[in-house]
Symmetry: C2
Subunit: 435 residues, 2 copies
């Protein structure tokens, strides 16, 4: 692992926007689903997934969901239940009430907070199907109070069965019972516009390949979408009191995700840096996914030497990493300085996988520096707010002068007159019967 | 105003995405600003705004800000101060604290809530320069605690002076003192990437023309952006107890914004519908902006007859209007049924312009049906959250089995080992010195 002395390190990764051909293909798929519904959905499922289905086979049956429990180990069910309970408990604390503010002039102002009505969760097929991500997408929506949560996931190639049983168990434990075996851009379009079988949703979330990402961008505005996640990242700021074996293991746990994942160690100690670099080499050699993790460490990994912990925090704030481990002697001395990090892990026992699977906070976290302005997925992503304004006669008469002044300065006479007509009617006793 | 009996009315408006030529032009401007900074910014300002500036003239001076107060009426200053105070008070109620959850096993989970560091507000030039919108964009950011709020607005064509003094006064009253006289796509690019004179921001908000909108979309990801507002909308649900003159005035106050604005009345009473239609004609004839309002009413206005108030609410929920006035005898009987509306106005004195200017809730509200899944601008738009995870040794040892189980089922052995290495070291007493 390379050790750099420069504090000017900058993480540069290409963001994938898709080729013009991919964009065109996705637009065409979306249009056909919008126009033809199920017929197009079944056609694309045969074409891209090699699976021939009838419309009444799209939905995963309750029997299949039940059968999935027999196809997974009881230890898995127990662990997914433990994770779901912690995730639910953490997200419960994010719930907010509608509120109102009553004024002595009789006016009432407020904010009404409501769950979205129907949310679609995309779950990729194959090796990228992570049961933990099912929990992380579904539970916040469920805690928000979303009454209808629906899942889509590609059918196993060449068969009508074969939705991954671990995914089905995670879905059931999270509380999703409406699942369709469709994937790709066609599944996103079906969620956005609806088909005869699949009712349209208000928001689509969950990761997917480039076609899924492009389709989500294409339907944005018709429905809400979550943000597109980039490759995973970890930054560890550690001093010589930390355990190099722990640091190396945590760096590798992110590196094994993806050749483009990034693992960065920032430390004021060259000796510690060298011990960590050696540990990374040693542990990497024994890792099943060493090809992936090795490429990630080589291309996007680095150990950065800094003059002080404070200078290290400065680098962290510039990187705005998805995951940040603060492994220094007194982490609370520095926590207040951390401005930009998606999730912050303190101390030697808060290994990043604790957050990936079990602690409770969401593992869908801003990547690629966007923690500067965005946040981990939470309950807020599944609610909407409406402003509420009730003005009494007294309140309106008190405010009328200012409203008309501002409206007329903006050249909006119609706005002023909507107020004036009331003032005239009410003060001249000419008010019609009013409700 | 046309009266339709169908409950199947659907509001269809084209969304403006810009021509390929406009998209290309904006991409080129953004690239040149990114590469050349001030030099390109000054060049585009001369080219598009006809204003030749030096870099040290970009920023509006404190003297200009002060002078602006002499160029506006004292009544305007008083009204803008009243509005600012109400907007600030309402948004103050949206502030949230960071929180934590301490468990008996010594673990600590939490969510850290922090303001964005630097926010840029775009204010259009010419007639679309609304002082009220300055307050509505700036104050939520300020209440969120954003320490640096910067404004950009195009220079008056052909001169170096000439930022609208009403805009400057609104900015000063809202608390913005860093203002640059640049506009268009070049201003958005300067805010996103920074130039020698303008430091880059974390989020850009505020309305603008198609070039501004395309530039915001182009830089999204480098910075956050607000959502692109569509034409204004009002839907009024009224029964025969309402005052037709009030209803007509409120419909026209939205119609006067834009030929594409939409004003819809929903009512169970045909007689009331006819009285309102007549009132709209009468008031429209006297409106200064009658050409705009008339086109809006003709093309996007309608009165919809429904069988009941409840059926009317059903239409409202399908429309998900930006502004919704509920003018029926007992509005609280129906409020709970309203699922989708950006801002809800109750009763005869809560005319929509009350919300545009003075009440306090934000007037930047989702349009075009997006109130189904999005919300008025508020303090939440200017904060970011970080998850916080501190696990004690006891908490880690208790959770280790479940974490390793889930990681291994997902094929992520490196994740499991980051936990395992700690469990082994801690239970075999081989822990290195730890911080």
């Amino acid at each position: 692992m390379k050790i750099l002395s420069s504090a000017e390190f900058k993480l540069e990764r290409e963001v994938e926007y898709g080729s013009p051909q991919q964009n065109e293909a996705v637009k065409e798929i979306v249009q056909q689903i919008k126009k033809e519904g199920d017929a197009a959905l079944l056609r694309f499922t045969e074409q891209f997934d090699g699976t021939r289905l009838e419309a009444d086979q799209l939905r995963v049956t309750q029997a299949e969901l039940k059968a999935a429990y027999g196809q997974v180990e009881p230890s898995f069910v127990k662990s997914i239940q433990a994770a779901a309970a912690n995730i639910r408990a953490f997200h419960q604390r994010q719930k907010r009430n509608s509120w109102m503010d009553l004024q002595p002039d009789g006016s009432l102002l407020g904010q009404i907070i409501r769950p979205l009505k129907r949310v679609g969760v995309y779950v990729p097929g194959g090796k990228a199907a992570y049961p933990s991500s099912v929990l992380m997408n579904v539970i916040p929506a469920q805690v928000a109070g979303v009454p209808e949560i629906v899942m889509v996931t590609p059918p196993a190639t060449g068969g009508k069965e074969g939705v991954n049983p671990y995914i089905l168990v995670a879905a059931a434990e999270a509380g999703v019972h409406e699942i369709y075996r469709v994937g790709g851009a066609q599944a996103i379009a079906a969620l956005a516009y609806g088909t005869e079988t699949i009712a349209p949703v208000d928001k689509i979330c969950g990761p997917g390949n480039i076609y899924v990402a492009l389709a989500k961008r294409e339907v944005y505005g018709v429905v809400d979408i979550d943000s597109i996640a980039g490759p995973s990242e970890i930054a560890v700021l550690a001093d010589e009191h930390a355990n190099p074996a722990y640091v190396a293991a945590d760096l590798l746990s992110q590196a094994e995700h993806d050749e483009m994942a990034s693992a960065i160690l920032v430390t004021p100690s060259r000796e510690f840096a060298e011990r960590c670099a050696a540990e990374v080499e040693r542990q990497l050699a024994e890792l099943p996914r060493k090809d992936i993790a090795g490429a990630s460490i080589r291309d996007y990994g680095a150990i950065l030497l800094v003059d002080s912990i404070e200078a290290g925090i400065g680098i962290i704030n510039r990187l705005a990493p998805e995951h940040f481990e603060l492994l220094v002697e007194n982490p609370l001395n520095y926590l207040g300085l951390v401005e930009n990090a998606g999730a912050i892990f303190l101390g030697p026992y808060s290994s990043e996988p604790v957050g990936d699977y079990l602690a409770g906070p969401n593992h869908i976290i801003p990547t690629n520096g966007t923690a500067r302005f965005s946040s981990p997925v939470d309950v807020d992503d599944f609610i909407k707010k409406s402003s509420l304004i009730y003005y009494s006669k007294e309140a309106l008469l008190g405010a009328a002068g200012d409203i008309m002044e501002l409206a007329r300065k903006e050249g909006l006479e119609g706005h002023a007159r909507a107020i004036e007509i009331r003032v005239k009617a009410e003060t001249e006793g000419e008010g019609d019967q009013l409700c």
